[in-house]
């Protein structure tokens, strides 16, 4: 089996599992309790806070543990919206291809009276800093642009965007769920005010993540209750999950460069191999992308059937086709980069893991090639294209 859907979630690392097990067995105390097993749990929490803070060059006091990326995104947006509202600033800038944790929260804020501007992400899947600069107004309270896109893997010019926001005095949040522990991030150097992260994207457990908020910004609560997380996120902490997240991020961070190099080599080969399939195209910028992401469109076929047949061949991947999303529209990300419906349905995302081998890579290429060819052999769309009744797009 070749698991190539690491952007959806990852397998927990050995060290994360071990850490979690040990913590569940031994450190069951409540971190808010004053006796020793409580205080030991508290210590585990604070060590974890230090570990994750270090990875993004933040201060431990700037880290708030959450239930994952979605919660962190919600909290970041709500925090900025609250602060904005107090000053009568009701304008928010984001991009057209954010994760739904951002887009749906923005929908809600829009109902509350905020005005939302979504920046174009162009055909290469990249936001243009100069377009951000033009979009910022006197009443802009937040800019939220994802660090790296979860479908097509494009890495945004975060440092430039951060600099513009800082200069203009606008809060800057980035959903870095796909980027943390995979590529270097420095919140200070890149002028990031808030950042979201999720443990299950870097071999940690599901249901745990963190929000970084720069010192001095008053965080808004999503969950009211006890005084945990500096009173900003109530609820007895998920100590074992947080400890496992720290163990996972630590291991990933210390191997980051080496991992990225390995993944990039495989992805470059995958891109080269898949490009040879006629009437196919890579989605997103070929260079400014996550080291483990490959996303293609194949004309004349539909993504779900491609995924099912690849699954039969032992390859697990994903697609932005409508039929995999349960709606009639293909992925909003592919539409945002200008892929029309006809080809957006035929997309394939491979998000490979660190343990992929050269043989796996070749096997993926030949399997995808054969499967695409097979599906085209009885596709009426492909027939029309081949017979010249319809024009090729790719």
């Amino acid at each position: 089996m070749i698991y190539a859907d690491n952007a959806a979630t990852t397998k927990m690392s050995r060290v994360a599992i071990d850490t979690m097990m040990e913590c569940m067995e031994k450190n069951y105390g409540n971190p808010s309790s004053l006796y020793s097993i409580g205080q030991e749990a508290k210590e585990i929490l604070e060590d974890a806070r230090k570990t994750v803070a270090e990875v993004i060059n933040a201060d431990p006091s700037e880290i708030y543990f959450t239930s994952g990326g979605s919660e962190a995104d919600n909290q970041a947006l709500l925090t900025a919206a609250r602060l904005g509202k107090q000053k009568g600033k009701m304008h928010i800038i984001s991009s057209a291809f954010e994760h739904h944790a951002i887009l749906h929260t923005l929908d809600r804020l829009e109902l509350e009276g905020f005005e939302i501007t979504l920046l174009d992400v162009h055909e290469d899947g990249l936001v243009r800093p100069e377009e951000l600069e033009k979009a910022i107004r006197d009443d802009t309270c937040l800019v939220t642009i994802m660090y790296a896109n979860n479908e097509i893997g494009t890495i945004q010019p975060i440092a430039e965007l951060g600099e513009i926001c800082r200069k203009k005095g606008v809060l800057f949040h980035t959903d870095a769920v796909q980027a943390v522990a995979h590529i270097p991030i420095d919140v200070k150097r890149e002028n990031i005010d808030m950042l979201s992260s999720s443990a299950h994207k870097y071999h940690g457990p599901k249901g745990v993540g963190f929000l970084y908020v720069r010192k001095g910004i008053r965080v808004a609560n999503l969950i009211e209750g006890g005084a945990q997380e500096q009173g900003k996120r109530a609820g007895t902490e998920n100590v074992a999950g947080i400890a496992a997240m720290a163990a996972a991020i630590k291991e990933m961070a210390s191997n980051m460069e080496e991992n990225a190099e390995k993944l990039k080599k495989h992805c470059d080969r995958l891109i080269e191999g898949l490009k040879e399939i006629p009437h196919s195209a890579l989605n997103g910028d070929p260079v400014k992308r996550l080291p483990g992401n490959v996303n293609f469109c194949f004309e004349g076929i539909e993504g779900e059937s491609l995924l099912l047949l690849l699954d039969d061949k032992g390859i697990e991947a994903s697609s932005g086709s409508a039929c995999t999303s349960g709606s009639l529209d293909p992925s909003h990300v592919l539409l945002a980069i200008g892929r029309i419906h006809d080809v957006a349905h035929g997309s394939l995302r491979l998000s490979i893991g660190e343990d992929l081998t050269d043989e796996d890579t070749e096997y993926i290429i030949s399997s995808v090639r054969d499967t695409v060819e097979y599906l085209r052999s009885f596709s009426p769309v492909w027939r029309d294209l081949m017979e010249g009744k319809k024009e090729f797009i790719l």
Partner: protein
């Protein structure tokens, strides 16, 4: 639990009656690339009996399986019987489809009906 029933997967993996009929006397194409499923049905009808049927489909697993099953259900049947084919019959023969995939079986029904209509039109215009 798997996404699809064993029956659906069987018809998806080994679709019956795939291809074209060069001298078809009834052809129907339904769906569009926008929604993600397109089906094309070819019928060869002799003495009001469906002697042969073939299909081509661009679409998801359930679209391919629905096309395949629909062709099986009408093959060898009189036209009058084929006209009674419903999406429900297709879905039931596949041991059910997920609710959000029922539209694929509707498409299969429409593709067959469209091909039968084409056959009738051709006959009338002769």
């Amino acid at each position: 639990m798997a996404l699809y029933s064993e029956k659906v997967m069987d018809h998806f993996r080994n679709p019956r009656n795939v291809g074209v009929i060069e001298d078809a006397n009834g052809i129907g194409e339904v769906g569009n690339a926008k929604c993600g499923d397109i089906m094309k049905m070819y019928l060869k009808i002799e003495d009001d009996i469906i002697k042969d049927v073939k299909f081509e489909t661009f679409g998801c697993g359930s679209a391919i399986a629905s096309s395949s099953m629909a062709t099986e259900l009408i093959k060898g049947q009189p036209v009058s019987e084929a006209m009674k084919l419903t999406n429900k019959a297709v879905a039931e023969a596949l041991d059910g489809l997920p609710a959000y995939k029922m539209h694929c079986s509707v498409l299969a029904e429409e593709a067959i009906q469209s091909a039968l209509e084409d056959y009738r039109n051709r006959k009338e215009n002769k």
